[in-house]
């Protein structure tokens, strides 16, 4: 509990979190509005509507991962990891506290991201006179699924940050993976095909009900992404406990 409060204060006492949140909201607005310029017949399709309103989940997960990663890499970059480990030498507990706080912040990011994308997307489609093909369950999945996906990606971020340690490669790696590497692997280029839906970005999209029929079910996506998060956090905790602090 003491460590959770310490980690929460670290997040609250710099402007990093606010900056990431503002960037996330700005990008969601941009992505949703640009997608709402697609041809009307395409936007009338239910799958496209899910995709447009699902930009919240996508960017929420990305920024939550950055929050989690920076909770480790910013400490390494600025050297505060040294006093942190002097005041609490049990490094696995420090990582656990970082995961706990990042998951909570990630859930908040995802919730607001999902809600913002749904609100802006629905308004934009209505403004173009397009009938929404979505029901209550879709909206709940879009918002709650976004919160869950972002929460779990925040834990993945902590794990990756603890494994990679250097801030720039960590952040670039996470962005590259979610923005296009996974898409290339899952898409026609590499042709992972069926296997692609088991990748962590696709699992996150599945939680918010994207691409029904192609992706996993929301429940299966949630279970799979939780497994990824647990493995990443555990690997990060083991790695940072074994290595010397520079």
């Amino acid at each position: 509990m003491a460590l959770l409060r310490s980690e929460l204060l670290k997040h609250r006492s710099t402007r990093t979190l606010l900056g990431l949140f503002a960037a996330m909201l700005g990008l969601i607005l941009l992505a949703v509005l640009l997608h709402s310029l697609l041809p009307a017949e395409q936007l009338a399709d239910r799958h496209t509507q899910l995709m447009v309103l699902g930009r919240g989940e996508f960017l929420g997960a990305l920024f939550a991962a950055l929050v989690g990663a920076m909770s480790v890499t910013a400490e390494i970059r600025h050297g505060t990891i040294r006093p942190t480990f002097l005041f609490s030498p049990r490094r696995d507990r420090v990582v656990a506290a970082k995961v706990g706080v990042s998951v909570a912040i990630g859930a908040g990011f995802g919730l607001l991201a999902g809600a913002a994308a749904v609100a802006v997307g629905a308004a934009a489609l209505r403004a173009r006179g397009i009938t929404l093909q979505l029901d209550g369950r879709d909206y709940i999945l879009l918002v709650a699924g976004s919160a869950a996906a972002a929460a779990l990606w925040a834990a993945i971020g902590v794990g990756v940050g603890a494994l990679v340690r250097h801030q720039v490669p960590t952040l670039v790696g996470i962005c590259a993976w979610l923005l296009f590497v996974e898409g290339l692997l899952a898409g026609d280029l590499v042709g992972l095909g069926e296997v692609g839906r088991y990748l962590p970005g696709s699992a996150a999209s599945a939680i918010s009900g994207q691409d029904p029929g192609t992706l996993l079910t929301p429940a299966a996506g949630l279970a799979l992404l939780a497994a990824y998060a647990a493995v990443a956090a555990l690997a990060g905790a083991v790695a940072i406990s074994r290595r010397d602090v520079g």
Partner: protein, 252 residues
């Protein structure tokens, strides 16, 4: 906190209360480089010990091994008879300033201290006490990026003092301090040891060290070259600087 009983035979021999730091055959290799080589020394309670050596001699590496931030390749470095990480509430026994700039530039000084106090369950009032002690109260709400080097040194010292420790480990604390700051630090360390506490201070500023320390441990290329009371080392009339240069001269 729950205390648990290890049971059975103690692994280490009975701890000598007067020995605060015990470094025994400590070795640290980074690949082919031997940073610390079979180093043995100890620190007695209530002394200021200068840990001296040229740049790259292994001083900082030794301090990191002592504080559990790095693992020794061989040997051991104990504080109060245990490895740092095995101490109960280590921040209440050992305070350390390893480098200038172990702060997030965007975080106010007070929040830096509060986050660490929370982690070690140190009462919040102590944050204000140490801020007052190092005369940073008026700057405590400002972000660290606005601090001068001397202010950062004092915030580092405040961090080390948060837990009201019995042992203070300082790595080059006089860097960036102005003459008044150096004078203040010297007086502070003297008052600290007068309370029966212990200081280990690394430095390559020999003139300053000669005025401050009781004991010295001199290392060169990771190896111990001299240890003892400063009076013994300089009893033949040589200055600490002359002794140091004679001992650490590069071989021809």
């Amino acid at each position: 906190m729950t205390s648990h009983i290890d049971g059975g035979v103690p692994i280490a021999p009975a701890v000598d209360e007067a020995v605060v730091v015990a470094v025994r055959t400590l070795t640290k290799r980074f690949g082919d480089v031997v940073a610390v080589d079979d180093l043995t020394f100890s620190l007695r309670k209530g002394t200021v010990t200068g840990f001296l050596g040229p740049n790259g001699a292994g001083k900082t590496t030794t301090l990191r091994l002592l504080l559990g931030l790095a693992e020794p390749t061989a040997g051991e470095a104990l504080v109060f008879g245990r490895r740092y990480r095995d101490l109960v509430q280590p921040a209440r026994r050992v305070g350390a300033v390893l480098e200038t700039g172990d702060f997030h530039p965007g975080r106010p000084g007070r929040d830096h201290l509060r986050s660490l106090a929370l982690a070690a369950e140190i009462e919040p009032d102590r944050v204000e006490e140490v801020l007052e002690l190092v005369e940073l109260e008026s700057a405590a709400s400002r972000r660290v990026r606005t601090y001068s080097l001397g202010m950062r040194q004092r915030l580092g010292l405040a961090t080390a003092l948060l837990g009201d420790p019995e042992l203070l480990v300082l790595d080059e604390p006089a860097n960036g301090l102005d003459p008044a700051g150096v004078h203040w630090l010297r007086g502070f360390l003297r008052r600290f040891t007068d309370q029966g506490r212990t200081v280990l201070v690394s430095s390559h500023m020999l003139a300053e060290a000669a005025q401050t320390v009781d004991e010295v441990v001199i290392i060169d290329r990771g190896r111990l070259v001299a240890t003892g009371g400063i009076d013994e080392l300089t009893e033949d009339g040589r200055t600490l600087e002359e002794v140091f240069l004679a001992l650490t001269e590069a071989p021809t």
